[in-house]
């Protein structure tokens, strides 16, 4: 992967402004020999950041459609699939929008109110095996999935802010940083 500028795994997380955060990621071959290492790095990075509920490959410098999430224990969680890693995810159904405040490890210092569907159906494939997967998510898990898929489409939560009063400076050390 070293000779491909799209797959240059970094330590830490890419923060805005950065071209990888505004560039749609490329479809990933789930059987690519590099994928397991990227997945390990992705999950490890998510686990290492307190409060982080999801992460995508572009945030680690890899322009692939690969994401992970785990919303276990969050007070707004209803559906909970535990730790999920999905390649080439796509939302095939979405309903019941709601507004809530989001932060992002790639946008430290800011949070914003963003409208998201609270009921979604997602299709993708399992990294490694390429086995197709379909799952339903609601409430906070649905929000988190949409946030991650936005990253894969080159969008940040800032691109979905409802209005000028919806962006907030986050001053606390443990939040969105």
């Amino acid at each position: 992967m070293e000779d491909d500028s799209r797959t240059c795994l970094i330590e830490g997380v890419v923060t805005a402004p950065h071209s990888l955060l505004v560039t749609p990621a490329a479809s990933v071959d789930p059987a690519d020999a590099v994928v397991p290492a990227v997945v390990r790095h992705l999950v490890g990075a998510m686990r290492s950041m307190p409060g982080c509920r999801g992460l995508t490959a572009p945030q680690l410098g890899v322009g692939w459609r690969l994401m992970c999430l785990d919303v276990s224990g969050h007070p707004s969680t209803r559906s909970c699939s535990g730790e999920l890693v999905i390649a080439n995810p796509e939302i095939v159904e979405a309903a019941d929008w709601d507004v809530a405040r989001e932060g992002c490890v790639s946008v430290p210092g800011l949070a914003a109110e963003v409208a998201r569907a609270t009921q979604i159906t997602v299709q993708g494939v399992r990294p490694g095996t390429g086995e197709p997967m379909t799952f339903h998510a609601d409430a906070f898990e649905a929000r988190c999935v949409q946030h991650q898929i936005d990253h894969l489409d080159g969008l940040l939560f800032l691109d979905r802010v409802a209005g000028t009063r919806a962006v907030h400076a986050v001053r606390k050390g443990g939040q969105a940083a």
Partner: protein, 187 residues
Amino acid sequence: MGLYAVTVIGRDSPGAVAEVTRAVAGGGAIGDSSMSLLDGYLTMTLVVSAGLSGDVLGENLTRGIPGLAVAVTDLARPPVTPPTVAASEGAPASPGSGEIMDADRLGYALTLHGPSGTDALSVTTGLLAEAGCSVTSMTTRVAGNLFVLVADVELPAQADVASLMRAMAAALDGFRIAFRPADPAVM
């Protein structure tokens, strides 16, 4: 390089925001800023890094946007405060409402609405201050007889939100008051 807060207030007109930002950008780099129409008047506050002195920046802006009132405050200059016993003994100063807070604070969005023409705003902010809250963003609007307040506040983790709400309800008869948690979820 100096750091200044530029405030611009005046009658709104087509292109006024563009004129202000062009004039300010001519003097330095604009950082945080906010703009809103208050009762139809244009109000802008911009934090500007500039190589000019505050006086020269102010003179340039007053010439560049003659129809609007401009004030420039030097943010880098430390505020003049009387020395305290603690300070003279070398103890660390406690943070004011504008300081960066520790992580043990909880974010809430406060909304309040009720009749206009009362002292609701000062009563509310007074109660928030007594409870150790800091206000990080606030907007009030009046529409006819209706007064609306929306604020982002940070409460100390040990603050008693329920008793704060009771105190507000008691002091602000006829107002609907709501606190909702507003800590962002990191994704």
